[in-house]
Symmetry: C2
């Protein structure tokens, strides 16, 4: 049996209540008793059982982070950002992964809620039923969404419109004339990046051409190869591609270009999205839009803690982060 508050009490000759008060720094404990108790605690190597504590306090000191997969760059970096702000708090992180199965989602959230598994949630790139959010709000369990906007709770996200605008503008300013776009086939992000692309074209008097857009489903290397093939076939004069689907796909584009004898950046300029580690290592280096994901994760955590402490209201509010264009040789 591990040592409990009772063992300490017995050893010192006080009651568990007194020990508890010492542990919780109650001011109304005599110096002498405090010292005795503290000594016994150290002596017997006592640590409070957080479950017992949670039960009576109605708090778990756990923050749940929910995502489809944690083995993605985005989720991982977010967790890293959250982690970095975790130090010096009493909170722990519990990871819930839906494994990409949409039906899991609301079930999982429901369980976290009803089984009281966390004091607050950070939900990454997932939606939530409105009624379920209402239940969380009613009980005062705060939620911060990342990259998805859900009415009634704060969201931390990136300015995708701006990022796409910057990329497109970069092409225009370097005199590219026919700018292709490779982009995800659905989702809030894809819509926003599409919007940024179109806005830039419009602002500079470029026509929008459906034929210059390739949609991808999986954001893979192969998606990039396939898309480029398809785009050059339709548009022999295309001299730039903005791969809003991400750097991995952009690298597929570059690879395919090499196979087809298309020179980068002379014949074709390429810009990706994400600035993954390897984008700096490709040849030529990939120009891309970088997002400070970890920083955004930290912010999500801070907002959540603010909500838990009552200093930040439980309401719709969007905290957005600026993208940055990283110029390398592909452009």
């Amino acid at each position: 049996m591990r040592v409990t508050i009772k063992d300490i009490a017995k050893k010192v000759g006080v009651t568990p209540a007194t020990v508890s008060m010492v542990i919780n720094n109650s001011p109304k404990i005599s110096q002498r008793t405090r010292e005795l108790v503290l000594a016994a605690i150290k002596d017997m190597n006592y640590h409070p059982n957080y479950i017992g504590r949670s039960l009576v306090k109605g708090k778990t000191n756990n923050i749940a982070v929910v995502a489809s997969f944690f083995a993605s760059l985005f989720a991982l970096e977010s967790v890293r950002g959250i982690e970095s702000n975790l130090r010096n708090t009493q909170y722990n992180l519990i990871l819930y992964s839906t494994r990409g199965i949409e039906e899991n989602e609301n079930d999982m959230l429901r369980r976290i809620f009803y089984e009281r598994r966390a004091d607050g949630l950070i939900i990454i790139s997932l939606k939530m039923q409105k009624e379920l959010l209402e239940e969380f709000k009613k009980e005062g369990i705060p939620i911060v969404f990342v990259e998805e906007i859900v009415e009634g709770a704060p969201t931390v996200k990136f300015k995708n419109i701006k990022g796409a605008y910057m990329a497109t503008e970069q092409f225009i300013k370097t005199n590219r004339k026919k700018i292709g776009l490779i982009i995800g086939e659905s989702g809030q992000n894809a819509e926003e990046r599409m919007k940024g692309y179109r806005e830039a074209l419009e602002d500079y008097g470029y026509p929008y051409d459906e034929g210059l857009v390739a949609r991808v489903a999986n954001y893979t290397f192969e998606d990039g190869e396939k898309s480029l093939k398809q785009l050059v076939k339709k548009n022999p004069k295309m001299d730039a591609v903005f791969c809003a689907a991400g750097d991995v796909t952009a690298i597929g584009v570059m690879d395919e270009a090499k196979d087809e004898g298309i020179k980068i950046p002379d014949d074709l300029a390429v810009i990706g999205y994400d600035d993954i580690y390897i984008s700096n290592l490709t040849n030529p280096g990939l120009t891309t839009i970088r997002q400070p994901i970890a920083q955004m994760g930290s912010q999500a955590f801070d907002v959540l803690i603010g909500m838990i402490n009552g200093t930040i209201p439980y309401e719709s509010k969007i905290v957005s982060f600026e993208p940055e264009i990283i110029i390398r040789e592909s452009v």
Copy 2:
């Protein structure tokens, strides 16, 4: 207030004990009572509070995963592997990151233990004090180590010696004469890979030459550039480099080679370690040693569950995984 077992009991007109037995599928509950209780549970949207349950059962249903950082390929892939086996179990993952601070390590483990935060631990690439492990064993809290061997508990790891042997042998079989090595300056892994390299040399009658070895500290791209510079300076006739420090460093080597006009693989053959995503995209493609990290993570989880269930003994035992050589154009 959220609904508890008492509310259900009151509504159905039984005692909480009866409700509890229904929830736990006790066979000695009449069909009729069971149905009534189940109906009420559904009706009132009752979910058992896991804290109450944990307190009485002495189980948390949490698995702690401890690593220095989760933002590394290795930790990430491990988590992915663990995640994939988590489904259909009642367990959740809690991530503890020491953030690379060694002093955090034992403190953190101690807290997990004394505060009873997890039913079992998976410790990735970290050591542990022997006495602390003894405490865990005494209380029956299982630990599985990944990539580190600690006396008294099972370890899941890769055959680094074999991986390094395969790489070196590949050079020898393709008639390379002077084989350089770039390797981490400390750690169990580095030692093992060094051993594999030396064993292969010896088996084929090659001399071991200290001057052909470069030690790196950070496993970075720059480490690769610097190391190659240093190696070719000392060994103008070197015609192969095994970069046991990993693919990122190997890519640095290839980049530096290009700058110096060294042709790969004609003048210099290169083999990396890890098979990161981009290794397939370099030019030429990087030959490398691949480790099934996610699979190893799954296995670590299975071993841990086996220990929790008592089907696997709590003792030193090494489960090793085979590396695989992925041959591309750099060789």
